[in-house]
């Protein structure tokens, strides 16, 4: 788990290559590489260049506003923030959810998993996976997919649309709804709405099953590449149900080290800070979480579909469980540690989401009218959910006047920060070191980042004295001057 490419010994002597912006990911980030005159790589970093500030400006707002406000962090998976904040606020109002409220929230969440995973696999990644990482750039996009593989593109679009419709019916809008409120939900699912979703659900399950097949085929056809691309060993963190099953809405935390040894299991997430801590580095707006017991140097870990599918004891739906067993058994288990194994695991989760939605739609509790509950008011609330990209933690402190006084968000992509950096360093070693750079080679770096499905806009939460660099360029684009602020607040030019 070495970080030997994180910081070059003599950066001033090296040539800088930037991938800016990283494309086909949510949010804005860049990658910088420092190379010597023989094209040997000395430093590789994924920089997150956005600044958000939600944790600061939520302060002073009434607590019931948080689930609606914080979801504006993201336009791709706002439901995750909506629900994580709601779960934290459930603790604030002392609520135990009614069966109707919990099932409607679960329906909303699995609709979100379905649409987000479909968006990522079909719209963002399929151009790399189906055409090749260094294929013709002009064709390497969703329009190219629609022209060459029209049926795959159509299924991707319609799978996402179905997930969005589940969200619309449960949250009121496809993006940035208001359905989940402290202590419950504000509407049930009517018979008409249920029937509207039921008419397509069998097709959605079938397409999701076929998508798992596509991911498997990609591995079978390119075994060496898919097994070894950006491969590295990592600790894992994910949430599991009480019986060890995959549960993306609620459960306890499970962490295992890179050799599979359990570090903690079924850990009560309302005290997450006893097991997870966040480190700050001068060159990124994103924090670097680590497992306390292992320390900041070696305690970083991986979250998301690959961790969840490999670390749960079973998946509680029939077809997805069968797909998980096949995934674990494939080629002696080689895909479970592969960076590109994320895609296969993601499709297994999409199939699971479709099956969960199908089961929930047949549950009469969705038509219940007991929507909200409350109990003894609390000062502190923590909500954790397994978002499409991984474990998402929301933590709030609310004063006696109902105003939020403190907020901490640890977002899925933030957990994966060091893992993504490790993946791109591994790719740089494998494909770039000592070779003449081409666009196709640089896209290999982006392919590794995309495998994690990062949401960079969600993930930037470091506050305080940000490292900043302002460049003055002449009309030719050459640098005339530069002003740099370091993380300790000092300036130098």
């Amino acid at each position: 788990m070495g970080n030997d490419l994180e910081t070059a010994a003599h950066p001033e002597k090296l040539r800088r290559v930037a991938i800016d912006p990283v494309s086909r990911v949510e949010g804005h980030g860049k990658v910088t590489l420092l190379l010597d005159e023989d094209d040997r790589v000395h430093q590789v970093r994924l920089h997150i260049v956005e600044f958000r500030g939600f944790e600061k400006f939520i302060q002073g707002r009434p607590y019931w506003e948080a689930p609606v406000m914080v979801q504006r962090l993201c336009g791709i998976c706002p439901v995750s923030h909506h629900l994580a904040a709601s779960k934290a606020m459930d603790m604030i109002v002392g609520a135990t959810l009614t069966p109707t409220a919990e099932k409607i929230r679960r329906l909303m969440h699995y609709g979100q998993i379905l649409q987000s995973h479909a968006l990522h696999f079909f719209h963002l990644c399929s151009p790399d996976l189906l055409f090749g990482f260094d294929s013709e750039m002009a064709k390497r996009n969703i329009v190219g997919i629609a022209a060459t593989y029209p049926e795959i593109a159509r299924q991707g679009v319609l799978l996402r649309k179905f997930g969005q419709e589940v969200i619309r019916i449960t949250a009121g809008k496809r993006i940035h709804g208001t359905g989940s409120i402290p202590g419950g939900v504000n509407k049930n699912v009517s018979i008409e709405e249920r029937d509207y979703l039921l008419k397509d659900i069998e097709q959605v399950v079938a397409w999701s099953r076929e998508s798992v097949g596509i991911a498997r085929q990609l591995f079978e056809q390119n075994l060496d590449l898919y097994n070894n691309f950006g491969r590295f060993k990592a600790h894992t963190l994910n949430m599991v149900r009480g019986d060890g099953a995959l549960d993306l809405y609620h459960g306890g935390l499970r962490a295992r080290d890179m050799d599979g040894k359990t570090l903690f299991d079924h850990y009560d997430y309302s005290h997450y800070w006893d097991v997870i801590f966040e480190d700050v580095k001068t060159w990124s707006y994103m924090k670097f979480p680590f497992l306390r017991s292992l320390g900041p140097e070696t305690g970083w870990y991986r979250v998301g579909p690959l961790s969840r599918v490999t670390q749960c004891d079973f998946i509680p739906t029939l077809q997805a469980e069968q797909a998980r067993v096949e995934f674990l058994a494939f080629n002696g288990g080689s895909a479970t540690g592969a960076t590109l194994g994320f895609h296969w695991a993601r499709m297994i989760e999409m199939l699971h989401a479709a099956e969960v939605i199908q089961d929930l739609l047949h549950d009469p509790d969705l038509q219940g009218n007991d929507l909200v509950s409350k109990g003894e008011r609390q000062e502190r609330g923590v909500g954790v959910i397994e978002a499409p990209r991984g474990t998402l933690i929301h933590h709030y402190k609310v004063d006696e006047n109902d105003q939020i006084v403190r907020c901490n968000l640890i977002v899925s992509t933030t957990h994966n920060n060091q893992a993504m950096n490790e993946a791109i360093r591994q790719v740089a070693r494998q494909y770039i070191d000592g070779r003449k750079l081409t666009e196709g080679l640089l896209n290999h770096i982006e392919v590794a980042i995309r495998a994690f499905d990062p949401c960079l806009s969600c993930a930037t939460h470091a506050l305080g004295k940000m490292p900043l660099e302002v460049e003055l360029l002449d009309v030719e684009g050459d640098r005339v001057d530069v002003l740099t602020r370091s993380s300790d607040g000092s300036f130098c030019s």
């Binding site: 002073g60 009434p62 019931w64 689930p67 949250a171 208001t178 359905g179 409120i181 509407k187 109902d402």
Partner: protein, 250 residues
């Protein structure tokens, strides 16, 4: 035979003492407005209800109806001015509709949609207005105040409590709480007061209600404000008690 005036070419009957907007709404003709409320004396401050009468611009909420007036309201020149007024109100406060619990029930937002305000128009002032959350049941978010004084009028004229007042002049004018501490918790306001019901925006809010009404069931989700304002207005009826303008409205 009632006396009449002309509004955008339509004949509007009126009772003695009615203002132009009262007669227009009663006859089923909408004139955009914000600070006007049928239960309170006209205020004339928001200027959204400005019309042209015989070539002059006047606030229709304070202009007495007179026989033979030629009133223009639904013309692009006036709607452009109304759009600018709404844009200025949005720029003057901190109106973040995406996370505001009044969204869907807010008069200012509904007017913005109705007048087709699609862009900011003016540089936002981003004033620093801390919340008053001191009261156990009521929250004040001054960020959204548009200085319509409806709460001031309701608290004074109906509740008899004088909880609210405006202070300062010009751009520094702002809503205050009439208590030595300036805190709502030191007043005798209660949830059942009229002042709790009249705020057209999201300033005076009962606590812990938030987003309990789902999208689709909020007041302006289904029908625009121009249709709903007519529902609230007292209607003119003919001798037989029929209201021609009410036809087709719920």
């Amino acid at each position: 035979m009632k006396e009449t005036f002309l509004l955008d070419g339509s004949t509007i009957p009126f009772e003695p003492g009615q203002t132009v907007i009262q007669a227009a709404l009663a006859a089923g003709h909408y004139i955009p407005h914000l600070c006007y409320h049928p239960e309170f004396k006209p205020h004339g401050s928001c200027k959204l209800c400005t019309v042209k009468i015989n070539g002059r611009t006047v606030a229709s909420c304070t202009m007495p109806a007179e026989a033979g007036l030629q009133v223009e309201s639904e013309i692009e020149e006036l709607n452009a001015l109304r759009r600018s007024l709404v844009q200025m109100l949005f720029a003057e406060g901190n109106h973040f509709c995406p996370s505001c619990e009044k969204s869907g029930n807010c008069l200012l937002q509904a007017l913005g949609y109705d007048l087709e305000v699609h862009a900011t128009g003016f540089r936002h002032l981003y004033p620093d207005r801390p919340l008053d959350a001191s009261h156990p049941d009521i929250l004040l978010d001054f960020n959204r105040c548009i200085l319509c004084e409806l709460c001031v009028r309701a608290s004074s004229e109906v509740d008899g409590k004088n909880v609210f007042a405006l202070s300062g002049r010009g751009i520094t004018k702002h809503l205050i709480v009439n208590a030595e501490s300036g805190k709502l918790s030191d007043t005798n306001i209660s949830l059942t007061d009229k002042a709790m019901q009249v705020c057209p925006v999201g300033v005076i809010l009962p606590k812990r209600v938030g987003f309990s009404v789902p999208i689709g069931e909020r007041r302006y989700d289904q029908r625009p404000i121009s249709a709903q304002a007519l529902d609230d207005a007292p209607r003119q009826t003919d001798a037989g008690g029929n209201c021609a303008a009410c036809e087709g409205t719920p």
